[in-house]
Amino acid sequence: MHIEIDEIAKSFGDTTALHPVSLPIPSGALVALLGPSGSGKTTLLRILGGLEFPSSGRVLFDGKDATGLTVQERRAGFVFQSYALFRHMTVFENIAYGLRARPRASRPPNAEITRRVTKLLELIQLPDIGKRFPTQLSGGQRQRVALARALAIEPRMLLLDEPFGALDARVRKELRTGLREIHDATGLTTVFVTHDQEEAMELADLVVVMSMGRIEQIGKPSDIRARPATDFVREFISA
């Protein structure tokens, strides 16, 4: 799905989180929102997911105005920073949650839910952990379960907030490859937030560098490396 961010601004009381920003995201792209904390990247991601509403501006999905759509109507697969798995449910129930939450008419029968959850567990290469609880998983496993849970609703796009933030370096590399593979297999338009320039450059097709609520530069990793548009970008990517 093609996403168009059109002059989106957001302020919380007196503080401005986002100055009007515009950003086209081509269908099927893997995009990184890169910036230091306080740059507005998470706010922008949450606006795409319908968890925050912009103070002004529009969001377009495939050319249609989606600004007023509720979080449920957006059907965005969202992976939270600390994964936000439901702690009182098994991994299986976590992944099945979105399917069970559907209105009765479109809710798949139990056998179908089981089939889909099993398939997702295989996709994240953890076929045997369905009966476990989130507290019994490692950080990397939790991240993959969160990804499977987001994919279960057959989302129109995938939004990830610092998906590798809480992991150690080795697992991080492994899961980067995992996300790339899942993105390529599903073809979903994917946006992830990170403060790690190496991660953004290595993983994304398109990198959006942000600072102080503004977009500093949009481009392919190689372009940004070769021709940083501002002093901020130059300093940030050399850090």
Partner: protein, 285 residues
């Protein structure tokens, strides 16, 4: 490893200090908590079990037990609903006057129950406009069950909300947001995510609230009018019996009240013991 005994953790006090501290606590608990409890049961049984049971069978005692259980059965569910609603509003939303709302929830802790009772009488008594209207239409609040329930609800209001707020703050909004992005409606999120996550804190709050609701004296004494066999709850009946030198009857009823409280405590301990895993997983106590 005999040397190890000469070292101790930096946070640990010298053995003599430790023994004194533990000793002080044990003596205080024995004098202030255990001794009165023993005296209550000893006095109740001072003329034998038969006499105690007979006094509990009196019309007034039975009416008091029935009334106290009725009041608790109405007030506790009401406060469970109010408490969850208040904790939900405070922890999941940002709004103006939030600090004021938190203070308001704590108010019953700082206001004397007698004052609270008097306020209810002034507001809803026969001499007030509102109360006069209600009495004229056959719905007396003061000196009747509704007044007692109101007073009890007021006094026990903070227990459940206070228990829930820190737990819900610690858990944050992320799980709720995740459920919303997965397509769940607000009510479904509450039912399948919020409520299961707070169930232990809620249960604790309910038990505490129940113990207090059954034992409340001051506020209820003012609003109930102490009509024997009609609006006298267990604590009030106990006081009346004691003042009339019916010490076996007074202490027998007091023993029943104490037993109800002990039962609550036992239930709480049992739950803690049986569900220790679940408690640590959902961040209860």
């Amino acid at each position: 490893m005999s040397d190890a005994t000469t070292f101790r953790a930096p946070t640990e006090e010298a053995p003599i200090v430790r023994r004194i501290l533990i000793g002080v606590v044990v003596v205080l608990l024995a004098v202030l908590v255990l001794a009165p409890l023993i005296v209550v049961f000893a006095e109740a049984l001072s003329r034998g079990v038969g006499e105690a049971v007979k006094s509990l069978g009196s019309r007034d005692a039975l009416a008091a037990i029935r009334l106290t259980l009725t009041v608790a059965a109405i007030s506790v569910p009401l406060n469970a609903i109010f408490g969850v609603a208040a904790a939900w509003a405070i922890t999941k939303f940002d709004f103006k006057g939030k600090a004021f709302l938190i203070t308001l929830i704590d108010l019953p802790f700082s206001v004397s129950p007698v004052v609270a009772g008097l306020c209810l009488v002034l507001l809803l008594g026969t001499n007030s406009t509102l109360g006069g209207l209600l009495v004229a239409n056959g719905y007396p609040i003061i000196f009747a069950l509704p007044g007692i329930v109101l007073a009890t609800v007021f006094v026990t209001f903070p227990f459940i909300a206070r228990e829930l707020i820190p737990v819900m703050i610690e858990q944050g909004k992320a799980e709720e947001e995740a459920a919303l992005t997965l397509g769940a409606s607000g009510w479904r999120v509450f039912r399948t995510v919020t409520l299961p996550n707070i169930r232990w804190a809620l249960l604790y709050g309910v038990l505490l609230c129940n113990a207090r609701a059954m034992g409340e004296f001051g506020a209820v004494a003012v609003v109930s009018g102490k009509i024997r066999g009609e609006t006298a709850t267990m604590p009030i009946t106990i006081e009346m019996m004691y003042n009339e030198y019916l010490s076996v009857a007074a202490f027998s009823l007091a023993a029943v009240l104490a037993l109800l409280a002990l039962l609550t405590l036992a239930l709480k301990t049992l739950l803690e013991w049986r569900h220790a895993d679940a408690l640590s997983a959902t961040g209860g106590h």
